[in-house]
Symmetry: C2
């Protein structure tokens, strides 16, 4: 049993030596280095070999015997129990018992440039400021409170700050309340719980963020798509959907929509609010990207335009600051927030309080705004890089959206070229992206693809689009595309 | 318009003065201090009054005009817009639209001693160690990673640590995996998603943690109660329930169950595992209190006793360290964890990473174990105090459980005295607790009540039980209880 001679223990550890030894032996048995039925060395022999006290060895053996891993036979020594782990024949067959797991996100090998993940610029992260402000929170007088059980509504000082900010900017109206969620994803989930029962209709943009489809799908919603063009949701199509399907909920991302990157102009915003007011549909406004506007003028939220109180606004710090800290929030009329808080309590009691306190400090100190300014400067460069690269490298007949902010851009390939086909070819060349059907309830958008450019420096963006363009051109020339117009903006 | 003279601006703020001013005016309008149609002071007059530059005033007015809050009339000045807020008659009636909100937790005024909240001792908190270790994490090389989007499975270094700990102690078997959740509450919620479809049967202890009932209720489960006595779940009753209702899931809290505080002895644990293996029911083991054992010998988890892999183990740092940091975990066979991670991604992407990193450091450094030792010492004192007080002050005929750890103890009042009745009387005297029906699906246990003693020092515990005892004795003597035995342990 040579393996036992190589055990290394740490005399400086807080864990007593006999426990360390027992754990090491257990690992050796569990990974098969010592098999069932094998006899362990006598305590004295092992004590000599490892330079330990003999009682340390016998305490470890005793502990393992008690747990059933070893069997002690008086006069014969300690043996690895024969029925350890593999003995029981009636192992539960979970894969047969549970519903099948859907396809997992692909992870192609050898990817050098990934346009697959919608995220902000990592290299712009204000790590030094984060460190300074976090330490101030941790050393501050509220630390003990932060560590205690909190409210499902969120950490009170953060809520107060966000509420007064929202009131001052005209986004929150009298009668509105605010609650904190684990990012925007949880807000969508809580809203689906609150608003959707079996087979009720949720109208969503098409294409749309995959995580939104999943939330409403699992809530049992009937999902009705409303097409998006270069200026966001198609209003005539929306009118038709509302008339025909009478949706209970309409989810809209007015600014820099995921996956297309497009933004609803003021006129369309007004019409959506007006349609909602007329039809009674609940408007869920997913407004997590609007702070990432790189050019052009800010537009009012649907919530600001809607005096009827029918709009529920979702915001988040995750996209604009630290995605690893999960802090988003909902602004809505008080009866809505009261019920969401009740639902949140069932889901996970409340959100992590330390992150809430740190993000509050970040916002209050002005560091968040300074960070946003830097992110917007970097974002504009990246946006220009991706747009130029699309103009330059995409094959004739391809079209693409013209975002003014955010992290995503949408490409429509010339038929018959499919995004999945192109993806295989791009991945072979080290470039990744997400194909259109991923963003569609019905699996359409087979010619579309999302380019998430936010997390990549301009050089990589250009090289990545160049590679995609070359792969597409090659596939088009092999297949012979009919459509021979030059690459055009998707508007 | 006197209110405008009291506006205070902060010249040192990052927000420009004109924006600060605009926000102050907006607040005054929104809270009704300035009404629709009112004229604002001329820019020069207000500039003088506030000691500001005149262009600051006109910039603020211009900003508010643009947003529609003010209307400017050339030569006449600026007026609060007439149709602001109150103008729209078609306000959405959310209370009519949404399902009614259930009764909110009572918050009686004038409570001095609250036995209502199940929590650890706040004064034992190792705040200095928390500060030191948190700062080490924040200054450490992984800080940038921690702030980036994480995995639905949890923060990898924490997962690895918990996995090796679970493997070394024999709790995790080969083929098991581990994932992090936002405390145990989210783990229950994700399991309900995974395991329960409409009307499927979940068997639970009775009485049981209210948050567990709510999770399974909203998942659409048919909840079947299994009575708990002084030694945990009644095994004969469980046999009957399994035979009659064929539950899909059985949830058990083997140690220091909430609300009763009782612990399953080894023999019952073995029988539960054996029943599960025989019947195929999935065992969910809610093991969040076992580290809080104040006396007696630790018992193996159901997971350790179950070689069939049918047991899903839930643990949490929330009850033993910092409840405000929401970190729990699930240990289960790999196919279960894969699906739970998929469901978690839909719920909230992943858990907060900073808290995971800090708790990892806390555990690795040995500080968690030292803190646990302190908590256990304090817990034992509190346990002794609550037990003695029950013996001394409860009226004849009352019975109570005898926990060996945890935070809760259960009292059964002598009939016909009801806990709700007693609660009213106790609250008038400044003492709070949760009455039995709160912990029951069918509203039974009207004579039972939960005493959460973990968060209170011994003197307060004694005084609180004395007050409850006096109130109960008074009610009993008014009503005339039949049962005249002395207070006895509930075993």
């Amino acid at each position: 049993m040579a393996s036992l001679s190589h055990i290394e223990l740490d005399p400086a550890s807080d864990t007593p030596l006999y426990k360390q030894l027992a754990e090491s032996i257990r690992s050796l048995v569990q990974n098969g280095a010592i098999g069932p039925g094998e006899r362990l060395p006598a305590t004295r022999a092992l004590a000599d070999r490892l330079g330990l006290n003999r009682t340390t060895i016998s305490s470890a053996y005793a502990m393992l015997e008690e747990s059933g891993l070893l069997e002690g036979h008086v006069g014969r020594g300690s043996f690895v129990a024969g029925n350890f782990q593999t003995a029981d024949p009636k192992k539960m067959d979970w894969d047969a018992f549970l519903p099948p797991l859907g396809p997992l996100p692909h992870a192609a090998p050898g990817i050098e440039i990934s346009f697959a993940s919608s995220r902000p610029a990592e290299d712009e992260f204000p790590l030094a400021q984060f460190r300074r402000l976090s330490k101030a929170v941790i050393d501050g007088p509220d630390a003990a409170d932060i560590l205690q059980l909190g409210s499902p509504h969120g950490y009170l000082p953060l809520r107060r700050f966000l509420q007064s900010q929202a009131a001052a900017s005209g986004i929150a109206r009298s009668g509105d309340d605010l609650m904190v969620t684990n990012g925007c994803q949880q807000a969508l989930d809580l809203l689906a719980w609150l608003l959707i029962s079996d087979k009720q209709v949720a109208a969503v943009e098409d294409p749309v963020y995959h995580g939104l489809l999943r939330v409403f799908r699992r809530a049992g919603a009937q999902i009705v798509p409303v097409p998006v063009d270069g200026a966001g949701m198609d209003i005539d199509a929306l009118e038709e959907v509302v008339e025909k399907h009478r949706p209970r909920v309409l989810v809209v991302t007015p600014s820099f929509q995921n996956p297309t990157g497009v933004t609803l102009p003021l006129e369309r915003r007004k019409r959506i609010v007006e349609i909602a007011q007329r039809s009674g549909v609940v408007l869920v406004e997913n407004d997590i990207y609007s702070d990432l506007r790189y050019r052009g003028k800010a537009l009012p939220t649907l919530k600001e335009l809607d005096a009827s109180g029918q709009t529920i606004l979702l915001r988040s710090y995750s996209k604009v600051s630290f995605p690893g800290l999960r802090v988003g929030w909902v602004i809505a009329p008080r009866p809505v927030v009261a019920r969401l808080a009740d639902i949140k309590q069932v889901s996970d009691l409340h959100s992590d309080q330390l992150s809430q306190a740190i993000l509050l400090r970040f916002a209050e100190s002005g560091e968040l705004e300074r960070h946003l300014e830097r992110t917007r400067r970097a974002g504009l460069e990246r946006l220009i890089a991706v747009t130029r690269a699309c103009e330059r490298y995409l094959p004739a007949g391809a079209r693409f959206s013209r975002p003014d902010g955010g992290m995503n851009l949408w490409i429509e390939l010339p038929a018959p070229l499919r995004a999945r086909e192109l993806l295989g070819s791009a991945q072979e060349r080290g470039v990744d992206f997400l194909p259109g059907p991923y963003f569609s309830e019905s699996g359409t958008h087979e010619h579309g693809l999302r380019i998430s450019f936010g997390g990549l420096p301009p050089e990589q963006i250009e090289r990545g689009i160049q590679i995609i363009g070359a792969a597409a051109t090659e596939l088009v020339s092999t297949r012979g595309s009919v459509d021979m117009e030059p690459a055009a903006a998707l508007v």
